[in-house]
């Protein structure tokens, strides 16, 4: 027997959570795009799409956020720190690749300095993921040692029932159990079978790729130019990526008053490494693409023991010139044989 949450109870769940003071967030389709957004009722949720177009990271690391306000007067400089808005939240219907993306980034945001913008939100958010029963040709979680029902980063994992009428509930963490206490009476004990998870074929050997990348001889390989010649440096692969985390700090305002903001940035941009002198150590797009791959599959695992990729496939799905992580790693897999 397992706990079951039936779809027709979902509206009541949303209501319960809301009245328990949680804001409820989930995939919402609006103006031709699906993103994780606050919902008022279960009807707002778009749970049938393979995965939302925009990643979950925006809820923890938004494109722009204020860090500090400043004002400069004749005899004083005033600064006022801005901390992220707080309040408990529950994300219902995350995809396992998105939830794992957050877990992948936790050590990054916490290794030397605990980034309160990230962790204040992480600590107040319950993540309820739904295992995938559908995938597309771009999904590649299994190549990253994850799976359509991986539990990494989730507080609760739901498995869709074969009947399509609900989900089996697997509570994974105390935070998840706590949130599901509020809806305990809406759950049913049952033996209904779960639908099989999506079959996602392995596309490359990530370990072999990392090893190839670690070999200093390959840093200057002609491969980098060949594989990335069509890249236009648009950055959308990094902006949609659940694990890409680079940001820039910008002051907006005038000499006397303004606001300091933390904004997304991307290694695909020429400006990313431009020095004040005008020299750019990554002067070509291929050097920037190499950096993206090296960072995700060599430097990041070297420091945090995990690849900085959860296999969501958004980078390839969205790329205007049909590039992406998958092809590059498939080619590296071949080279490393």
């Amino acid at each position: 027997m397992t706990k079951i949450l039936y779809t027709d109870k979902l509206d009541n769940c949303v209501e319960r959570w809301r009245s328990a003071g949680l804001s409820v967030i989930g995939p919402v389709r609006n103006a031709n795009i699906t993103a994780y957004r606050p919902v008022g009722s279960a009807a707002d949720l778009e749970l049938s799409q393979i995965l939302p177009d925009r990643s979950i990271k925006e809820l923890f690391f938004p494109q722009t956020e204020p860090m500090m306000r400043y004002s400069i007067k004749k005899d004083a400089i005033n600064t006022e720190e801005c901390l992220p808005p707080v309040g408990p939240r529950i994300i219902f219907g995350a995809r396992p690749c998105d939830a794992s993306g957050l877990a992948i980034d936790d050590p990054l945001f916490g290794w030397d300095y605990k980034d309160e913008y990230w962790f204040n939100r992480r600590n107040e958010t319950v993540i309820v993921s739904i295992a995938c029963t559908k995938s597309d040709e771009f999904c590649m979680c299994t190549s990253l040692k994850l799976s359509p029902d991986s539990t990494k980063g989730s507080d609760v994992l739901l498995r869709p029932l074969e009947s399509g009428k609900g989900w089996q509930v697997e509570e994974l963490t105390d935070r998840g159990r706590e949130a599901f206490k509020a809806i305990a009476e809406l759950l049913t004990e049952g033996a209904e079978a779960a639908a099989p998870t999506a079959v996602v074929a392995e596309k490359f050997d990530a370990d072999a790729c990392s090893e190839w990348l670690r070999n200093p001889e390959n840093f200057e390989s002609r491969f980098w130019k060949e594989i990335s010649v069509r890249c236009i440096g648009c950055g959308s692969c990094t902006y949609l990526c659940p694990t890409c985390h680079c940001f820039d700090i910008q002051d907006e305002g005038d000499t006397f008053t303004g606001i300091r903001r933390k904004n997304w940035d991307s290694c695909s941009f020429a400006l990313f490494t431009m020095h004040t002198s005008g020299h750019n150590p990554r002067s070509t797009q291929s050097a920037r693409w190499r950096q993206r791959i090296m960072h995700k599959f060599n430097y990041f695992p070297g420091k945090f023991s995990a690849n900085s990729c959860s296999g969501c496939g958004r980078c390839t799905r969205q790329c205007p010139v049909d590039m992406g992580i998958t092809e590059t790693l498939q080619e590296i897999s071949k080279l490393s044989q």
Partner: protein, 276 residues
């Protein structure tokens, strides 16, 4: 012989004779309905070229890649009529020497490619003349009409809601052949003219700068629209501006290599007393 095969043969001849050092075209993509830009520099590789109705990206932007044409050698490129117009603009704005560009012109009817005769940009002058005022791709026309019928406030609300999705990746800029500036105004940070933040102001600033900088220059290829990761119907903004410059200045972007840029030329007898 299929059009695709004819063009492969032509590309092969161009490369074997040394007339061009590279052919920029399309090849198969990662899924059956995707095509991707291909850069061919040996005659053997022309067999990977694909030409069909899915070849829609405007490839002219690659020609202004730093250093590509600086050796004065020639490059051949597959272009639809919008792409050919783009070559005229790039030449008129001194970004390339059109004599270095061999055009493999094509169009598509349904899913079938059709050949356009000519190889130098001027060979297509007559064709471009017949296109004046015609929207190359009517995608979004229904929405466009709806927007035109709206009150200014409704229209403002529509764009505000669309721009609120913008994540400031500038993919629209990178994908546009007309956005070739080595340092875009939004990348200038001393001072920072345009905020990089994707708040309401920042998103409006960027999208309005883009609309103005492309007025009278946009060839309506749709690259920006297809690149936008959050699906903002960007081409409708450009379509509107193209309509305005056509009406006000009888200017159809990319008509010839000597066409004066409508927003960047000033004459003493202009009726306006200011420059934007």
């Amino acid at each position: 012989m299929s059009i695709e095969q004819q063009y492969r043969t032509r590309a092969k001849e161009l490369l074997s004779s040394g007339e061009v050092k590279m052919v920029i075209g399309y090849s198969k993509g990662s899924t059956p309905d995707r095509r991707r830009p291909a850069f061919i520099s040996t005659p053997e590789d022309v067999e990977t070229l694909v030409l069909d109705g899915a070849c829609i990206a405007n490839l002219s932007g690659y020609l202004v890649t730093e250093g590509l044409l600086s050796d004065e050698k020639r490059v051949a490129v597959f272009l639809r009529p919008e792409g050919i117009r783009a070559i005229n603009i790039l030449a008129a704005e001194f970004q390339l020497n059109a004599a270095q560009v061999e055009i493999l012109g094509f169009n598509t009817e349904g899913n079938e490619p059709t050949a356009l005769s000519g190889s130098k940009v001027d060979d297509f002058a007559e064709l471009i003349g017949t296109l004046k005022g015609i929207i190359p791709d009517t995608a979004g026309e229904e929405l466009y009409k709806k927007l035109e019928a709206m009150s200014p406030q409704e229209r403002f609300d529509f764009w505000q809601s669309e721009f609120s999705k913008c994540i400031k990746c500038y993919a629209c800029r990178q994908a546009c052949p007309m956005c070739y500036c080595r340092r875009c105004i939004v990348d200038n940070n001393q001072p920072q003219w345009v905020n990089t933040s994707s708040h309401t102001l920042g998103n409006f600033e960027w999208n309005i700068v883009r609309a103005f900088h492309l007025s009278g220059r946009c060839v309506e290829c749709g690259n920006c629209d297809r690149a936008c990761p959050v699906n903002i119907p960007l081409r409708l903004i450009n379509r509107k501006m193209a309509g305005e410059v056509l009406e006000a200045f009888d200017h159809f972007a990319g008509s010839s290599q000597t066409q004066e840029p409508v927003m960047a030329s000033f004459k003493k007898d202009d009726t306006e007393t200011f420059i934007l």
